[in-house]
Symmetry: C2
Subunit: 290 residues, 2 copies
Amino acid sequence: MKDIDIVKYLAEKKALVDEALKNYFANTNSLFEIMHYSIDRGKRIRPILAIMSFDANGGEDMNIILPVACGLELIHTYSLIHDDLPSMDNDDFRRGKASAHKKFGEAMAILSGDGLFAYAFELFTQGNGLIQEKYSVIKSVSEAVGPKGIVFGQSLDINNEIDATPKSLRRIHVNKTAKFIAVSIKCGAIMARAPEHIIDKSYNAGLYMGILFQYTDDILDIIGEKKKLGKTPGKDVAFGKLTAPAIYGLEGAKFRAERYAELAKTGFSALGERFRILNQITDFILNRTF
Amino acid sequence: MKDIDIVKYLAEKKALVDEALKNYFANTNSLFEIMHYSIDRGKRIRPILAIMSFDANGGEDMNIILPVACGLELIHTYSLIHDDLPSMDNDDFRRGKASAHKKFGEAMAILSGDGLFAYAFELFTQGNGLIQEKYSVIKSVSEAVGPKGIVFGQSLDINNEIDATPKSLRRIHVNKTAKFIAVSIKCGAIMARAPEHIIDKSYNAGLYMGILFQYTDDILDIIGEKKKLGKTPGKDVAFGKLTAPAIYGLEGAKFRAERYAELAKTGFSALGERFRILNQITDFILNRTF
């Protein structure tokens, strides 16, 4: 099997996700309009990962995976909105435009995040999937994005008194980022009704991809360009955050990012030829500039 | 069938809920400790309503309803934490002690709310219930507490430019409060595997109880005592909020509260003798001083 054109693949799947999201935000109330502002213009990495994994596991009906994929994007967006708040990372710029609190004020930003979070779980109950699989998604996602996952990672991330050790760094990376990336891949496998051991192995490879993702995020905070990133670089350093370059230096972080990419690809390769696309996206993440 | 001792019943069920909550917050991480601070000392109205409805519908195994009941309390607590934030209602006092942001700072307050919200959905997947019923609970609750329910109601509630009309008031009351009260009752019926028409009718009667609940909340903001309430009265007036007394006057609001109590009780009475306890709690809410 040959490599496919990853840039084209990403653009196609992004268009699918954007179209589905548009439908989920049509004909609603004033709060939905505010929620939609922040949803607009994402890279859609997590929903695309879910779709990729669904594809790789032989899933065919897009109406099974799209509501789940969109729900993941809603949760990601909610976490960005709350992270950007003045009391958190205080970022005025996100996805190439004013962040939610800058545009609508803090109260509406908080509520629009809360709304996106709840609506994600509503979306997980939509579409052509079976109840058993939808339920598995809800169970897995709620664990990955809650106080044993993203929210815990974020609470460590804003704690300036945390030990500057490799162990603390890994704890932040795994909880803040990797579990969510991994569960996105897991959701694709669940909705394609993959066997249990495939679901578990794709989650484990996804954890490495997720750590890689956060490594590149930490690196781009130093060497990235604001215009490409659509957010403000240099914030980690300004806030004295515990990042991969802070622990390992910039070159050390780059070296380790490559190692995590290898670990992820070894994991996906073991699942068979159809998972080659996940190796390609791993390389794409390793080399990303945005 | 005679009336039961409602005060005793409430105390017993509250103890059950408190005990279950304690277990859900044992042996966890630093974020859970902060989440637990706000969980402590609630009236547990929503979980008790779920248990009452479970009882009334013939449910017996407490390990079916308790995880759901606790999840509802987590969502209620998350909404209180976010409502109390400086950018929202700016309340320093809640459940008889410093509110979360006063105790832990805004960032940790926001995150502890987010954590409680996510953890609630994890709890909905716990316990002895069947997947079909757990899934129904998740679907119903996500709709009631999201951007077509609580979060929408809250967004209207903080909007000072809203029309001071009975219609706007009802929209706030239904979304901010009534849907969540109603869905708590609905969850008890779902987990007891009640027939569809009973589930629907108990939800509808629950909506009236929920409106009643918000009427008494609005009234207690004027006539209640801080010590009994465990929160600061007079905030609605200070913030120029659209409340029942603002539209109908204090006596008008009291009169209408009685009407909503009657509507709720008519609804529950139609479901049979076993639902009498729900009439009793309706009267309890009507007459509450805290």
